[in-house]
């Protein structure tokens, strides 16, 4: 079985991200094993749980969630790129407690090492 890893660097409100989603779904339906998507640079914004795109626009976040659920597709977001863009996995409110995350559940916070791992395992790595 052919394996594929994808690096996404474009934000949810760009049509380039729609292309990435389309490409990944076509790959899966063609029988390619997509071993993971790594979100880097502005790509991490796809994981924001407070994202609100107008109802009549393409809902990239819902598409990512669907791909994650239907096909068990791992969605990794780069922790450093996330922090630079306001995405964090622990928020200290006034009480100093770790409360909630602003990252959507379909996504996993990962280090850059995860991309190395995906790259070492995949037959092809595509940047979209």
């Amino acid at each position: 079985m052919q394996t594929l890893a994808v690096m996404v660097t474009t934000p949810p409100h760009s049509n380039l991200t729609t292309t990435a989603i389309d490409y990944i779904e076509c790959a899966i339906q063609k029988g390619i094993k997509v071993i993971g998507v790594f979100f880097y640079q502005d790509g991490v914004l796809n994981a924001s749980s407070y994202l609100s795109l107008p109802n009549d626009e393409y809902q990239s976040i819902k598409q990512w969630q669907r791909l994650n659920k239907e096909y068990d597709l791992p969605l990794h977001i780069c922790v450093t790129a996330g922090e630079k863009r306001g995405l964090t996995d622990e928020i200290d409110d006034q009480t100093g407690k770790k409360t909630q995350t602003n990252i959507n559940d379909a996504f996993i916070l990962s280090g850059l090492g995860e991309l190395v791992e995906l790259s070492s395992k995949a037959d092809r790595v595509v940047q979209l």
């Binding site: 760009s14 049509n15 729609t18 292309t19 107008p54 626009e57 393409y58």
Partner: protein, 122 residues
Amino acid sequence: MINKKQSIAILNSTAPFASTNGKDALDLALIFGSYEQNTSLFFQGDGVYQLVKKQSPDKISTKDYLKTFAAFEFYDIKHIYVCAASLDQRALSDDFHIDNVTVLTTSEFSKELHARKIILRF
């Protein structure tokens, strides 16, 4: 309160779909227009692709924000200018998906731009 009318140029230089520039520029144009500011739209460079007829954004799952261009008159957008040289370079005709577009030579385009008090470019 909006205490004086300004002449505003919204200069479009980006193709419609890959970035939100076109949509963001449109939103600005409509709001300036609806507040009765003297608002004009300028299209140059890859921005002219926003005026091309028979686009089908549904083929790439994108909302057709270009449809809203039809509402320019309603929003009191004064002028819509497009740079002839930019059309020529891209082998595009002057057959646009909206009416009342004025095609200007590079020199005329520049002069109209210079007549505005505020210029925002996307």
